[in-house]
Amino acid sequence: MTAPSALELERRAFRAKRSRRSIWISVGSTLVFAALVWVGVVSTPGWHAVQQSFFDPGTAAKAVPAVLKGLWLNIRVLFVSAACVLVLSVLLAALRTLRGAVFFPIRAAVAIYTDLFRGLPLLIVLYLVGFGIPALGFFPRMPAGFWGTAAIVVTYTAYVSEVFRAGMEAVHPSQRLAARALGLGYWQTQRLVILPQALRKVTPALMNDFVSMQKDVGLISVLGAVDAVRAAQIQVSLSYNFTPYLVAGLAFVVLAVPMVRLTDWYTAKLQRREQMGGVV
């Protein structure tokens, strides 16, 4: 490699100086902004009372073990739900792309299901599934966590199957043509050619749905399952202090952060690949 010219060296020096300066400016402005917010909050008339009832270190420390134990239930519900949602969504998306008059009832049923459950608030689905189905007396007694998982699965499957369908329809028709020309059948084409490409296209959207699911698993507490939120509620009623809620909230944030960062990183990576070579 040849040594850079004096002109290029001068340009590099300038760019380095400019980026050092912008780092200092951003650090400085962040500190000033944070200080302003802090002073603003602390100088409110009710701050002292809020500090005692929401930010009490002693109560927080006592709540941590119970909240973490509850969080373990949330994590299990999350991963079981995510796996079920993934499988069911792919199935529903494939059913909805079926062509032909014979399959009209299937397409219609899937369409009604996705419309209904994308519209229904999760909280109401939780009540319906969690209290309604056990009341039928048909199923054996199941823990609240089970029904909570079921409610999350039916709600999220409706969303995620639409994401998959959009992804499958976004694969260029020439891919289907090429696959069928090789003699692959309809389902073989879906499985070997369309779905793998669709999956790549929708991964950022799926990761985003997973992030939103991570906090929605906290709602199973309304069914009486002792998850992180319910554990915090119990601690609150024991201590007459709201700090345990904050502990539970932070636990959810800490749980979500790796996935949030991973989603952003992966989305940015895909974007870079598509706009190779530019500086704007």
């Binding site: 891919q175 043509l177 090429a178 696959a179 020309a181 090789l182 003699g183 059948g185 070997l192 490409q197």
Partner: protein, 244 residues
């Protein structure tokens, strides 16, 4: 000996527009037939009808004596016997080169994975792309991608190979390597029907040139006769236009 492929009275319309207005064409085994004609003359549609990717409105298609236009015939099984190469390669971007080539062998012809791989590698070595077997298609040049697409179509030993303007999307300096491969296939006795804009190539490789205009065959013949002494006014006008 009857023809390997026999088309009789093929008609196809898209809405009001009649793209194929009664095509009769026989292709013998080991024959290379070049379909030429202006854009929209029906060349690509005819190829897609032969492979059952389009449904014909009338007529009959016989492949090795079997009526493949009969709706009772399993279309997937017919397509498995015909190889197609498209203008835009249509390689599968999520599979590496070797997996692209062996996909049909593994899933349509149910060859054991090891056999399919050996055969795929063999074909890739022959076209000088053995080293690219593990690369993904987007890392290859257009000419390399199109050669992989040809090998993908050949990997299942089809009875008939259809080439749909396979050099139209390529940079001029990459056309040669693709055409060389087609020339080599002819040497091995592959039966080929190709739609093409490369007149020089059609003249060089084809056993017969078929000129389509507005969905009918206007003229056909040996390349020397077709290019040397075209009989029809429409053929002469077309050749005059494409020659410069």
């Amino acid at each position: 000996m009857s023809a390997l492929l026999s088309l009789a009275g093929i008609r196809k319309s898209f809405g009001d527009h009649e793209v194929l207005a009664g095509i009769d064409l026989d292709v013998a085994e080991h024959e290379v037939v070049a379909l030429v004609g202006a854009s929209g003359s029906g060349k690509s549609t005819l190829l897609r009808c032969i492979n059952l990717l389009e449904q014909i409105d009338d007529g009959r298609i016989l492949l090795a004596g079997e009526d493949i236009s009969d709706p009772r015939v399993a279309a997937d099984r017919v397509r498995a016997r015909i190889g197609v190469v498209f203008q835009h390669y249509n390689l599968f971007p999520h599979l590496n080169v070797l997996d692209n080539v062996t996909l049909a062998a593994r899933h349509v012809h149910r060859l054991p994975a090891a056999d399919a791989r050996r055969k795929g590698m063999d074909l890739l070595e022959r076209i000088g792309l053995g080293a690219k077997a593990r690369e993904f298609p987007d890392r290859l040049s257009g000419g390399q991608q199109q050669r992989v697409a040809i090998v993908r179509a050949l990997a299942t030993d089809p009875a008939l190979l259809l080439l749909d303007e396979i050099t139209s999307a390529l940079d001029p300096e990459l056309v040669g390597e693709v055409l060389d491969l087609v020339r080599e296939l002819k040497g091995q006795g592959t039966t080929i029907v190709m739609a093409t804009h490369e007149m020089a190539f059609a003249r060089d490789v084809a056993d017969r040139v078929v000129f389509l205009d507005s969905g009918t065959i206007v003229e056909q013949g040996h390349p020397d006769a077709f290019f040397g002494a075209p009989q029809h006014e429409r053929t002469r006008r077309f050749l005059a236009r494409v020659r410069h």
